[in-house]
Amino acid sequence: MQEQATFTPPPLYAERMQRLQTAIACGTPDRVPVSLVMDSFAARTMGLKLSEFVSSVDVAAQAMLGTLEKLGDVDSIQFATYAPDVLGLLWLAPVKVPGRELPDDTQWQLDEQVRMQQEDYGRILDMGWSAWLGEYIGKYLGAAVTAAQALAEANPRWVPEYVKRGYVVLSPLTVDHPFEHLCGARTVKEFTLDLYRIPEKVQAVMDLIMVEKREQARQLVRSFGPMGYWVGSWRTAPEFLAPKLWDRFVWPYMKELVEIVVEEGGTPILHYDANWDREIPRLKELPPRRCVLALDSKTDIFRAKKILAGHMCILGDVPPGLLTVGTVDEVRAYCRRLLSEVGPDGYIMAMGCAIPSDAKFENVKAMVDSVHEV
């Protein structure tokens, strides 16, 4: 990874970037770095209603930056700002947002329904992915496009603000797996049944999507340079899929997208939610010391370390539930175990997935501070 600003960043930024780069290369930094994902937690911390937080990407960025300052010595944040509607472009489903479809202070949620019908596979093959997607977005995802535009416009303004204060914005951009799109548009149940009942058609559509995806991924990394890129997994987790389905519909596409990001000089952040235990050894097929495996607490991170030591940096995985209902002592104890068994080499301290909105501030602070206590 390289520096993200055209001006000369402060020494603190360089120090933190060096720490992260060493960890990503599976080395042992001067101390374990910390990298956070937060959105609604920032709203709570800064005393905003969620409806206020989602009202503008600038309000969100201000709250996230303010929360980092309150937490103390945090090396990095993964996104500079946030707009929940953008999730719609990943899972092709609109998001219900506080202050719009939901009460002011209610957590946003994906409104997943069967919006893509089985006959749409044929239409995609006839029309092409972009044309079909354009039609679909026009019908269901106007707010998602507006959010994506707002984020694209806000990132170049806000990333330097973080850098000036010494924070590394680790991975503001994403490269998405075609499985996630189709699964969201069909719903988990219907898409799973499609994988059994019309596998050839699904695969043909995924192959068609990949023709565009691989080129988009390449251009994205070329345009934005050697930073981190989320190549995430949610519904593609091995825990959800029989090995024969996973080997056919998940891994070949995932591996190729990761390799493209690496070839172009980016750092894939493998934000892998749910349980990956079964396939952790497969990650050794990915380029060594170039990716970050971000686990959400459902995978056995301690076993993952034993398998991937020296091959892949690991980030995570203080359980969201522990941050919410646990005590400071429990958080400290868990972090100590992470630091000694998953660190200190090739490890980045972090929450599992993202800090939940109702996490106790003192628990998050205990996680952040833990890297100084060893």
């Binding site: 949620q109 719903t187 359980p319």
Partner: protein, 211 residues
């Protein structure tokens, strides 16, 4: 344990065409619809056992449950109005402030396929609806699901409301969903944490004395 049959084996092996054909054939031969349904339930047991042993994954549970629904559809029509033996009743819902329904739906399908009657309250269900449903249906089991940590308090409030209504000792409360774990179970005051839908079936059967 009932004896494995060709139909149960077909469902257990996720052989959809065979399972559907065997139901038709057995009906044509004049077998009792209830007996055929019990064979399908045996097949779902096999799917569940294979899931628990790690041979099957969630995708196989979903597919198995769908084959069960499809193959049993002609039986359900014939069985309408007939008293069917049920192991017990589960009142189920995704708690207040959470609209995720997938986990809840798979639990409902698996429970039904295992002979447990399910009163599905839907999503974003407030405590009063749970209390009302318990009074009305007198279940042995209550299942609560959520995908958001922000819904933990809704689970806790619901369980407190069940207690305040004097119903707590009449039901076993199962909780599950993405961020839920043993700590959450303790926090909300539930009886059992179910990591997977199949865990829920196993817990339910234990509570009902058939597991």
């Amino acid at each position: 344990m009932a004896e494995m049959t060709d139909l149960a084996q077909a469902l257990g092996d996720l052989d959809e065409a065979m399972a559907v054909a065997l139901v038709e054939e057995k009906l044509a031969r004049g077998l009792e619809p209830l007996a055929i349904l019990q064979e399908l339930q045996l097949g779902m047991n096999l799917v569940g056992e294979r899931f628990e042993s790690g041979e099957y994954y969630l995708s196989e549970l979903i597919y198995g449950a769908d084959i069960f629904q499809k193959a049993s559809a002609p039986l359900q029509e014939l069985l309408q109005g007939q008293a069917q033996e049920k192991l017990g009743t589960l009142v189920l819902g995704t708690v207040k402030n959470d609209i995720h329904d997938f986990g809840k739906n798979i639990v409902a399908t698996l429970m039904r396929a295992n002979g447990i009657e399910v009163v599905d309250l839907g999503v974003d269900v407030d405590w009063a609806a749970f209390v009302q449903a318990i009074k009305e249906h007198q279940p042995q089991l209550v299942g609560m699901s959520c995908l958001l940590t922000t819904a933990f308090d809704a689970m806790k409030e619901t369980i407190q409301a069940i207690e305040a209504a004097g119903l707590r000792d009449k039901v076993t409360i199962l909780v599950g969903g993405g961020p839920v774990d043993e700590n959450t179970r303790e926090y909300v005051g539930a009886d059992r944490y179910c990591r997977t839908a199949q865990d829920g079936v196993s817990a339910a059967k234990q509570v009902l004395g058939v597991g």
